[in-house]
Symmetry: C2
Subunit: 241 residues, 2 copies
């Protein structure tokens, strides 16, 4: 339809739709704002050396038995028997400096698992928005922003974060977009950006976390540009780029 | 999570996600703004008596061989050998008054096919927005607004139309919503409603139809409240309610 040869930036709302949007994608940015990818960015900012994302609790238990530190969250809560969940604020005191942490969460690690065969997989959140956008612009390759969703359904905060990346990449002039999901994500971002917290007031995930007294976590995850780390997946392990 | 006993109104973006959003749904509103459900509403407004939606071209050909009038569209164009596509404006001169028409389209009839086992299936578009909203409010039952999408991917114009219905139902005070897709559809509607045509300028479907010189059809489909008909599916056949 177009002879525009610029690379594409597109949004895929959930892992469930991955293969519909996956054609010619070079770099997948996995996004789970509340809270997995926010926690991963924060962990690296505060000294964590490696993170091993696993999709199932069974794998997490195996790693724990081998002596690994394991972060395991389901439905917003730390899984019984594990020492960490996915609160990003748990990493702020530097306790895990230099450590390797295994992580499994309700939605975020499934997105990483879905994208694992892509050429390049990086971790995005509002926390590393500017740094990661700048890096993506320099790559000049096709980018997919992959939301994690909530149990396979569409999720507002991941979409808004994806829209924030789309906005920066498009503003660079170096990218084109074809899918309506990309247009919608950008529109939603533009109407949310002046007050993420208020905009998400009615969202299902905010209500869910608020009921668990996690409002402080939500505010933290919705505060952009707290770090310039770019976690990247290499041979199944996340490291700082 | 809530003791609110009001019925729900929710949005499901595409047939692909139907079963994720289908729990306890009583009424499904199938939406394909460009252009299948706009054409169906217009056909009934201009006298068509029955429409038989079929999912495949094979079924359409069988009906044609039996002597039925068949509307068949794929990728925006009339399928070779058929007399009608899915332009709503084709019905305006009343030529098909009193007739039965078989219809198959790229996306819209697949949404109807997906929803066919729901208790009640009705046809929505911007063309019957107020009339159908009023009827849905009176039913006091759980409503799903089902977009058709484009080849299984998210589609902006169906979502905006779904958001317009959500807005009316929520404003009645008689409905609650849980899913983020519903919030997003309403937000997108609110920012689009003053200028649908401009808002959809970049949308993939508008570009696609514009390339086929179908701008007049687009404008027609984006003009709300041209009819009060409510097409309803009964034993696989669409009739006026």
């Amino acid at each position: 339809m177009s002879e525009d040869s610029r690379p594409r930036v597109e949004v895929c709302f959930t892992p469930r739709s991955y293969e519909l949007y996956n054609e010619d994608v070079d770099i997948v940015v996995c996004i789970d704002v509340l809270r997995a990818t926010s926690a991963i960015c924060t962990a690296f900012e505060y000294g964590v050396k490696k993170m091993i994302p696993v999709a199932t609790l069974e794998e997490a238990i195996e790693y724990r038995q081998k002596g690994f530190i394991v972060a395991a969250e389901r439905k917003g809560q730390i899984v019984e028997g594990f020492e960490l969940g996915n609160s990003p604020r748990r990493y702020l005191d530097g306790e895990f400096d230099g450590k390797t942490i295994v992580i499994t969460t309700t939605n975020g690690t499934k997105a990483i698992h879905t994208a694992r065969k892509a050429q390049t997989v990086v971790i995005g959140s509002l926390l590393n928005l500017d740094a990661l956008s700048e890096w993506l612009i320099k790559q000049e390759r096709n980018v997919m922003l992959l939301g994690s969703g909530w149990k396979e359904t569409f999720c507002l905060e991941d979409t808004i974060c994806a829209g924030a990346f789309v906005d920066q990449l498009q503003q660079s002039g170096g990218f084109r977009s074809e899918f309506d999901s990309t247009i919608a994500a950008k529109y939603l971002y533009l109407s949310a950006k002046d007050n993420y917290f208020g905009y998400l007031k009615a969202s299902s995930h905010r209500r869910r976390l608020k009921a668990l007294n996690l409002n402080e976590d939500i505010k933290f995850c919705l505060t952009p540009n707290q770090t310039s780390v770019i976690p990247i997946l290499r041979n199944g392990v996340l490291e700082k780029l």
